[in-house]
Symmetry: C2
Subunit: 342 residues, 2 copies
């Protein structure tokens, strides 16, 4: 066999190519949101929609290899990343199917723990696991989750609704997951046990922002929403492309936790690099008209949600994607995680 390989073409070009292979097959009358957002949305009845998504986590790629990671974390994170995608559309998770690819010599106790992690998150969000599939594989363990959520049609939040003049906000803090991965991956940096626990937990057991997503969607104040899985600098490009806009991010406003700053200093790293390019934070990016920022922050605060921080402004597409620093405005590099890229 010869010709171009998956590694050579890269993740996003491959997705685009495969999507085009399918063209317009199938009856799309009930599809509210199709390919290319955090999740697809299908009309059910009476204004109610189903939000559907899937995401596979592979041992040694998305989580450390079996033996270096707990089964609990592998199961928890596999479900969490899908919950985050459903939330990013404004949806509440409802039902899941779980497909496991299992090397023969995997200890059953590890698989018990995978399901323990799935159970913990399912209990938290009242998700019913309807079934699934187990198969043998000669490769690494994979956990593939298919998640169905629910949202009212008029509350669906797409990536495509941002408009020039909007502000862009983010929930929680950025970069903790990347710092956790750094500590976890054999870093020589010695940090206090509570810092280690907090940052590695951000990496291994991310907390999807379901409550925040639902109140944001129900407020009717947001113009677009997505979750951050590949890093702010990479993911914001998807939002800008889908909305046909540009963006200016304000570096000084990016929410960086005290924990992150402390560990970055010990590791001689820049916390902003982790915050911009780290990925796996599973925070929400939201846009809203400038005059609605305070109202949106208020509804999230009243629901006891994570902080919602304005981090920039949406511009016309011609202005591109840039970062305002103390010393000027710079084009924002895209260093996002991409499967298959070297």
């Amino acid at each position: 066999m010869n010709g171009e390989t998956a590694r050579e073409i890269g993740e996003f070009a491959l997705i685009e190519r495969l999507r085009n292979k399918l063209g317009s097959v199938g009856n799309s009358a009930d599809v509210i949101v199709g390919n290319g957002d955090d999740a697809a949305v299908i009309r059910a009845e009476d204004g109610k929609c189903w939000v559907v998504t899937c995401d596979a986590q592979v041992s040694g790629v998305h989580f450390p290899s079996v033996g270096d990671v707990s089964g609990f974390a592998a199961g928890y994170k596999s479900l969490a990343v899908n919950v985050s995608d459903v939330a990013a559309m404004g949806g509440r998770p409802r039902f899941a199917l779980i497909s496991l690819g299992i090397p023969e010599e995997t200890p059953v106790s590890f698989l018990d723990d995978v399901y323990g992690g799935v159970r913990a998150l399912s209990e938290q969000y009242d998700i019913l696991v309807l079934g699934g599939n187990v198969t043998r594989t000669s490769g690494p363990l994979f956990v593939d989750v298919f998640l169905v959520g629910e949202v009212m049609e008029e509350k669906v939040l797409r990536r495509s609704g941002a408009r020039a003049g909007d502000r862009i906000l983010v929930t929680g803090y950025l970069g903790d997951a990347a710092a956790g991965l750094h500590l976890f991956s054999g870093s020589q940096v010695r940090v206090r046990e509570d810092l280690y626990a907090s940052l590695t937990r951000a990496q291994l057991e991310p907390q999807p922002r379901v409550a925040e997503a639902v109140v944001i969607a129900e407020s009717g104040l947001a113009t677009s929403m997505m979750d951050i899985s590949d890093g702010l600098a990479g993911d914001i490009r998807h939002l800008c492309e889908a909305s046909g806009v540009g963006v200016l991010l304000w570096e000084s406003e990016l929410p960086v936790s005290g924990t992150l700053s402390e560990v970055a200093s010990l590791a001689a790293k820049k916390p902003l690099e982790w915050a911009l390019h780290g990925g796996e934070d599973y925070e929400l990016l939201v846009t809203t008209p400038a005059e609605s920022v305070r109202a949106l922050q208020k509804v999230v605060r009243q629901s006891r949600g994570a902080p919602l921080t304005p981090i920039g402004e949406i511009l016309p597409a011609s202005q591109g994607i840039s970062l305002k620093r103390a010393d000027g405005i710079f084009a924002l590099k895209n260093l996002a995680w991409e499967h298959f890229s070297a």
Copy 2:
């Protein structure tokens, strides 16, 4: 790490164990059929239900390795086995998500062909592929399909409805897929090209029985239904367990194609071994009261469906699972395909 492994516990014990780990988490008010059937069924509105299922196909396990199989066949079969599961509940397939695990060096042209296979079957059944996910894996290629279908609540056919006195019927012919695998897997048997093509196609591109399933469900005549994926002798156990019944299969009535008999003779194999234990036929097993057999055959015939052949009778559970041969009645061996079994 130590303790029992996936291989040691075996597929079905593992599934049961993982299912029990989840207990009663989640709101099951809208669940019509949960774990343990061909697919799960969730109530939507106005009597309409969604049928949801997933099944992963792994290179080198479910289809020959990349290089020995066409991408078309890999894609086609990955979707077909899920279509068959939705059909087995009486449902029509509607939407799919596709999750690909891709080794870096996979030729993009192979992945194009995977989607070509998905497209061919999607066009045939008007299935809309809503999206999916691609991920890198250090192991073999996997294609994991999540499929959502539609069925009216009162038409749902479970595995659990068979009653003593019912007849059991099967669509199409049994054993062709197993014979195809035999030919495909380096058999020394030389057969005519048309026989080779027909049997290997049964293995690589099985034809799910959607039209038959839908008319059977709509007739209201069937008491239970499932598809045959692991072989008649193995799968009938699941139907009997779910229904709390036994069964007597009539060996002389098992539908074996002329093609299969011819190839079996050349290969010095017994066609009935393939028909009983071969697996991957993706035919439907259906039960119906004895007095409804002809009416059920008639509705399937009128829809130009595959032949529907009575192959045995449902008995009380105490009678077990047995096979009536010319020389007597014998307990039916279970030689079904099981992941992880030696």
